[in-house]
């Protein structure tokens, strides 16, 4: 591209476009985050490559991992037993690193429905689901879930029979939870990959239920 064309249309093609910087004013904390990273790289605490790799690792943590774990538990009773015993070891056995902080699986049954929250901060099984959604970190969810879980469920469009007990698990910095939903009816012929598609992030937090492919 030649560079002698008219620039009066308001931008310069020579500049690398940085939408996150140029589209909106930067904040004090964005500057601080940039500065902290650069300072720690200069000091040799980690390298720029370490930082890039860590961001890639972060991007690889999505609810699809959690769904894969649940589909395996639905189809493999030995795996399910291991999962209920120790989530971190069980997922490692199928090649999924769910991180260092212990995660406990809580199993939904026809009698009991489980939900997870972190009232004190926003502890979450990040290793299996990625970062928590904004609503999980909201004051409303953190405050109300332990007092009126059924009202919260209804805001997510989830209604449970009155005789189902709802148990709410308050996560901590040292112990996280993962809901093991019930396998929907009408899924007997489905393989693991198709079952995983029924499992959404919100099912694993316990605010919704997996889709029933039969629609019943």
């Amino acid at each position: 591209m030649t560079h002698d064309h008219d620039h009066s249309h308001g931008h310069d093609h020579d500049q690398t476009f940085q939408p996150d910087i140029e589209d909106s004013p930067f904040t004090h904390h964005q500057v601080m985050a940039e500065a902290l990273g650069e300072l720690l790289i200069e000091k040799g605490v980690f390298t720029a490559d370490d930082l890039r790799r860590q961001i890639e690792h972060l991007d690889s943590r999505t609810p699809a991992l959690g769904a894969e774990v649940i589909a395996r538990a639905w189809t493999d009773p030995d795996f399910k037993a291991k999962l209920m015993e120790n989530v971190n070891e069980a997922t490692a056995s199928i090649g999924i690193d769910s991180g260092d902080i212990p995660i406990r699986a809580v199993e939904n049954t026809p009698e009991t429905h489980h939900m997870i929250v972190c009232t004190l901060c926003s502890c979450y099984p990040r290793g299996l689901l990625g970062p928590p959604p904004d609503w999980y970190k909201s004051r409303a969810y953190r405050s109300r879930t332990v007092r009126e879980p059924r009202a919260i469920l209804s805001e997510f469009g989830t209604t449970l029979p009155d005789d189902v007990e709802v148990r709410v698990h308050d996560s901590t910095a040292d112990l996280r939870y993962l809901v093991l939903p019930m396998r929907p009816r009408g899924t007997d012929g489905m393989d693991e990959a198709d079952l995983a598609k029924l499992v959404t992030r919100d099912c694993l937090i316990g605010v919704s239920l997996p889709d029933n492919p039969g629609g019943v």
């Binding site: 310069d12 500049q15 940085q18 996150d20 910087i21 140029e22 930067f26 904040t27 904390h29 964005q30 500057v31 601080m32 985050a33 940039e34 500065a35 902290l36 990273g37 650069e38 300072l39 720690l40 000091k43 605490v45 980690f46 370490d50 930082l51 860590q54 961001i55 690792h57 972060l58 991007d59 902080i101 929250v117 009232t119 004190l120 901060c121 926003s122 970062p131 959604p133 904004d134 609503w135 970190k137 909201s138 004051r139 409303a140 969810y141 953190r142 405050s143 109300r144 879930t145 332990v146 007092r147 919260i152 805001e155 997510f156 308050d170 910095a173 040292d174």
Partner: protein, 107 residues
């Protein structure tokens, strides 16, 4: 309940509807997350230190900052307390970044 609650301890209180709007992680938020993990792996930052420093921000700052801004403040505080970085170094680097970004936007 005994004693006054601290700002982060909100379980059981009244609050409004669950917000339905959300946002994808922004680049600077991912960077903050990665810095946290890397400092953790190098034993410069434990989960409990992170938590305590967020709780110690106090009601004013806690409510004013968003999620990753709290992280940013807490992580900086831990690294300052441990003398991994100094206030002076951080201040200079922030001024440098701000100058660079401001110039990039002008051109």
């Amino acid at each position: 309940m005994t004693g006054p609650r601290r700002v982060h301890d909100m379980g059981g209180q009244d609050a409004g509807s669950i917000p339905t709007d959300g946002h994808e992680s922004e680049p600077w938020e991912k960077r903050m997350d990665a810095i946290r993990m890397l400092c953790g792996q190098r034993e410069l930052l434990r989960t409990d230190e992170m938590r305590r420093n967020i709780e110690d921000l106090g009601p004013g700052v806690y409510n004013e900052l968003n999620y990753y801004e709290r992280w940013c403040a807490a992580i900086s505080n831990v690294l300052l307390q441990k003398k991994v970085i100094s206030v002076d170094e951080l201040g200079r680097k922030m001024a440098e970044v701000e100058k660079r970004w401001t110039e990039a936007r002008k051109s």
